[in-house]
């Protein structure tokens, strides 16, 4: 618990960064009607996928925020050697990432939906799919960030590494929202969340040991 409080304190120390990722999401969504068409019917078709992709990009952008500063000042090394189980540390980092980068975006989703002419029914299911699917994104993004810690051009590398793994939550999440809540996709997404929750922190922990040893 104290680990989580520390994470949040560090991440929220400069609220500008949280607002920045939020702004990024809003601006990108605003670009699409300008670039494609203001026609609400077309926008409505694209809206779910667009918001999901923007969420994905925001998740990637914010991915190494919590890790990089820890790596640079040596706290990551302390955590690897420390008392708390390393998988728990990694899980806390994923939670911190989700709370600061993705949850604000989910809260703002109604606004984005209005910009893209989304029906309120779809909006509801979109938010549900985001609530279930974005933790998976967080878990994968923290894993990827740990892998690219301290490497040159880590940012571009992050997308290259993570893209295949982000496809299942993206596809399942958008399908769930677009079929307006058909439970099949919901179950799959929830199952994916459970499996990711159980396995990814351990994978991240082993990568953390590798990263610290670098």
């Amino acid at each position: 618990m104290s680990l989580l409080k520390r994470e949040l304190r560090l991440l929220l120390r400069s609220p500008a960064e949280v607002v920045q990722s939020l702004l990024f999401g809003v601006l990108v969504v605003a670009l699409f009607p300008l670039a494609i068409t203001p026609d609400p019917d077309v926008l409505r078709q694209l809206s779910v996928g667009l918001i999901w992709v923007v969420t994905l990009l925001t998740s990637l952008l914010a991915a190494d925020r919590s890790l990089l500063s820890d790596f640079e000042d040596g706290s990551l090394e302390q955590m690897v050697l420390g008392v708390a189980p390393l998988w728990w540390v990694c899980l806390v980092k994923s939670v911190g990432h989700w709370l600061t980068a993705l949850l604000p975006l989910i809260v703002i989703t109604p606004l984005l939906g209005i910009m893209l002419a989304m029906t309120s029914e779809t909006m509801l299911w979109l938010m549900a799919s985001l609530l279930v699917g974005t933790p998976v994104l967080s878990l994968f993004c923290v894993l990827g960030a740990m892998m690219t810690l301290g490497l040159n051009r880590g940012g571009a590398l992050l997308l290259v590494i993570l893209m295949p793994f982000l496809v299942p939550p993206l596809v399942l999440g958008t399908q769930w929202a677009m079929t307006v809540g058909q439970p099949f996709y919901g179950y799959l997404l929830a199952g994916l969340l459970c499996v990711s929750l159980m396995t990814l922190p351990f994978a991240t922990a082993s990568v953390a040991r590798i990263a610290v040893g670098r």
Partner: protein, 246 residues
């Protein structure tokens, strides 16, 4: 008897034994691939539906099969290197990755070339094409990570973790892409048809598939042996073997 197995993990014994395997692999490859190509391109009967343009199948299908299995082999090597900490397994994974990536690219390119006469378009977002594209991205990720993390042992381990995570995720990815496609499948054509082929058509295909696998192992062994030479350049047995070249 177990000792024989364990010796395969040592670069020195592996080098010696794989050297003896090389001529057989080369022979198999050089026998089967030209046979398959000449037979498939020239002598197999023309398809009643597609005419002669189906012949690219003899390159495309072996490449596609190999693309998937080479990823599995590479990830298996990565798993061995993580669990048993064998540097040889790490070298095997490192050398297999570029070959697999190129084979996947060839599968995609030949598939696109086949698609134009068959479906009228170079690319279509169907389940198999999309899965193969994602496979290419998986290879790209492993290669990029390996390149960025360096040739050190930690770089190898990071890439191995990525490859194994990719392998475990592969069924999930394929499943989600399949469902995504079945939802959006255009009704105008069926991409996944597998017509029953007369033996004159699939015999050269079989020759090509076996030949391409032989080629893969041949090239993989060649690259792996080179990697061993580079890594063990300071050890005694390499010096003795190649002393006249130093």
């Amino acid at each position: 008897m177990w000792r024989w197995f364990h010796e395969w993990g040592s670069p020195r014994y592996f080098y010696a034994r794989s050297g003896r395997l090389l001529p057989y692999l080369a022979g198999l490859t050089l026998l089967l691939i030209p046979t398959g190509i000449v037979w498939g391109l020239l002598y197999a009967p023309a398809d009643y539906q597609q005419g002669h343009s189906y012949r690219i199948m003899y390159v495309h299908v072996p490449a596609a099969i190999l693309a998937q299995s080479s990823y599995a082999m590479m990830a298996a090597a990565g798993m061995v290197s993580l669990i048993w900490r064998l540097k040889l397994a790490d070298a095997a994974m490192q050398t297999a990755a570029p070959i697999g990536a190129w084979v996947t690219a060839i599968a995609l390119i030949t598939g696109a070339l086949w698609g134009k006469p068959m479906w009228g378009t170079y690319w279509v977002w169907d389940a198999r094409l999309t899965s193969t594209l994602i496979l290419l991205f998986l290879f790209a990720g492993v290669l990029a990570l390996r390149q960025a993390a360096g040739p050190s042992q930690s770089g190898g381990r990071a890439a191995a973790v990525l490859a194994v995570v990719g392998l475990i995720n592969l069924p999930i990815i394929k499943f989600s892409v399949d469902w995504w496609f079945t939802l959006h499948q255009p009704a105008s054509f069926s991409v996944t048809e597998k017509p029953a082929m007369p033996i004159e058509m699939w015999a050269p295909l079989l020759a090509m598939v076996i030949g391409v696998y032989g080629w893969f192992f041949w090239v993989w062994l060649l690259r792996l042996r080179q990697e061993i030479r580079e890594r063990e350049v300071r050890s005694e047995w390499i010096r003795q073997r190649y002393q006249n070249e130093f």
